[in-house]
């Protein structure tokens, strides 16, 4: 193919600017396009006083080299199309012949179907490209846009037809029919507006609460076992926690997910924070250097659990918001606007970790009425 490309053609007759990386336009016009006065595109006419010259090699079409070049290109194009035919037959054969009832068979079937279809389409496209580039004349053709306005006669005729139609239908003459027709379509027009109701009702306080409540035990997600501070005593530990009693309620669990982190003595320092008059973070909500944060990123709600015990960073994998777990999940990087909400912790009579109350602020991303 490369030997065909090395021998160039000419630039189009009208080439006012160059595309970057392409050779300069030719001063030579080899077959200018003629546009007739009535807007029709004319045939490519011969240049004055010279024989028609080919586009590919810059040679007359009856030159032996031109004929050889055309034959070679023709063969390549035909080969591409034949390959497309064979691969297309292969696609049908693969569809009929290869079953998909096990994973391994599906794997083989997908591979065969994808490969054969890709080869078919690529061979067709390649053949057409070579056809265009090496067999068709390389001239730029200008086609003028026709007038958008209809002919005066057509416009008159349409007007007549319309007026006659209105007269025959008696829509002007019989206002009762006309008005009841409009009345009949009115509900259909109103229907889409009524369907907007389904976007409601408003969430109310739903976004402000989770199912955590005073005394509700913390369960290790997966094994659903309660946990004591003694069992969670290895410094640097982290685990995902869900509230007890909601293992069948995924919607409740999604909002209530918590990460529990254990620190070495002296490493954890949660500052006391308030929002208005509400306490939203304090060291008093930790037990034995164990702290619990909401697992939902305050940016747009991805689960955050990339915890690094060496740096105490909690990283959100979606947009790289980084929270410092040791200082109350303060945002130290990224688009999150607020620290992760802290869940108040205490222990119950049996020594298990329980919630002291629900989160005192809405978990997860911002919403319109959040304030």
């Amino acid at each position: 193919m490369s030997d065909m490309e090395e021998t160039g053609g000419h630039a189009g007759p009208a080439a006012p600017y160059r595309v970057i990386g392409t050779p300069p336009p030719s001063p030579r016009l080899l077959g200018p396009t003629v546009v007739d006065e009535d807007g029709e595109v004319g045939e490519v006419a011969e240049a004055e006083g010279s024989a028609p010259v080919d586009h590919v090699l810059g040679l007359p079409p009856d030159d032996p080299r031109m004929i050889a070049h055309g034959k070679r290109a023709e063969k390549v194009v035909a080969a591409c199309f034949t390959l497309a035919f064979i691969a297309g037959c292969g696609f049908i054969a693969a569809y009929i012949g290869l079953g998909v009832h096990t994973v391994d068979k599906t794997l083989r079937s997908n591979l065969a179907l994808g490969t054969s279809l890709a080869v078919t389409l690529l061979a067709l496209g390649l053949g057409m490209l070579i056809w265009v580039r090496h067999l068709m004349p390389d001239v730029e053709v200008v086609e003028e846009r026709h007038e958008l306005r209809s002919e005066a006669v057509d416009r008159e005729a349409f007007k007549e037809t319309f007026v006659r139609g209105a007269e025959y239908s008696q829509v002007v003459k019989r206002p009762l029919v006309r008005r009841t027709l409009l009345l009949g379509t009115l509900p259909l027009v109103a229907a889409p507006v009524v369907l907007l109701r389904d976007m409601g009702p408003l969430p109310g306080t739903y976004l402000r609460h989770t199912v955590w409540s005073p005394g509700r035990r913390l369960l290790v997600y997966g094994t659903n076992t309660p946990i004591t501070p003694a069992e969670f005593s290895a410094p640097g530990s982290m685990i995902t926690i869900v509230p007890e009693g909601y293992s069948d309620d995924p919607e409740a669990l999604i909002k209530a997910g918590v990460i529990l982190i254990k620190f070495r003595p002296g490493e954890l320092d949660v500052p006391t924070r308030t929002q208005g008059s509400t306490l939203i973070g304090t060291m008093n909500w930790t037990v034995d250097n164990i702290v619990a944060y909401s697992k939902i990123c305050t940016h747009i709600g991805c689960p955050v659990a990339l915890y690094e015990q060496t740096t105490h960073h909690i990283l959100c994998p979606c947009h790289q918001s980084t929270f410092d777990a040791a200082t109350g999940a303060t945002v130290i990087f990224g688009p999150a606007a607020r620290p992760l909400p802290q869940l108040p912790l205490t222990t119950d009579a049996q020594g298990y970790l329980v919630a002291k109350s629900d989160f005192t602020q809405p978990v997860g991303p911002s919403f319109w009425e959040r304030g």
Binding site: E5, T7, G8, G9, H10, A11, G12, A15, V19, G21, T22, P23, P24, P25, S26, P27, R28, V56, L57, G58, V103, D104, T106, L107, N110, L111, G114, L129, D138, V220, G222, T223, T225, I227, T228, A230, E231, F232, S233, A234, P235, G236, S237, M238, I239, T240, I261, K262, P303, V304, A305, L306, E308, Q309, T310, T311, H313, P317, Q320, T322
Partner: protein
Amino acid sequence: MSWFNARRRRPVAGYAALLLGLVVVGLVYGAFTRTGGIAQASSPAPSQSDINTGKDLFDANCSSCHGLDAQGTTQAPSLIGAGAAAVDFQMSTGRMPAKEVGAENERKPVTFSAQQIYEIADYVASLGGGPAIPDAQQVSTVGANTALGEELFSTNCAQCHGFAGAGGALTYGKDAPPLTQSTPTQIYEAMLTGPEAMPVFANGSISPSAKRDIIAYIVDTRVEPNPGGFSLGRTGPVTEGLVVFLGGMGFLVIIALWITAKRRDPSTTRTE
């Protein structure tokens, strides 16, 4: 030979030679850097002579950073209470002895025998206890609940190591390593001790049987077939996006350039 001589001056010949060279270098490098299998013998009960040998090995290889009594220095942490499991994980994955002092050490070929690692582990354990090396029974995946393992893995491990254990990025240039080469013992030890930035998943929060379930899931995902075709390293949408963007889009751009490129004009080239 004449076929070769006819083609060796073509522009494509240079690229072919480069490609061939890269392939040869890769093969030779691969042949020389193959690491042997990691020893899987379970650790024998420690004796005083093991501890003494371990102390000698420690003094020779580890004490320059960790201190002569493993008390830690400004360069490396104290190992008192780190436990045998931490020593076995760090040394059997080749992370220790470290190439350089830094936040992260990569897996590299192991330079100590399993016996030597056990001796050093026994010495470190004798200084202040800590988690022990799990035995073969503890890391066996026979009868493990892979489904529960998947649930625990995707909740607690997948955010860093990827849903199929292919690894992933952490903050400030650190990364979570792929789990493709980790042995069940190493996975167990990593959960128990929390090496580097990894949090600890002690037996109180992830029970020994849940640890076996997680190991079973990691081991099982390695042999899962890929019904969609190429796995692309199973690192998820990032790889697929990169391949489509660089490979696919780049290919389309080149094709578009080729389709629209104007051919050289013989009349201008002749006059030059």
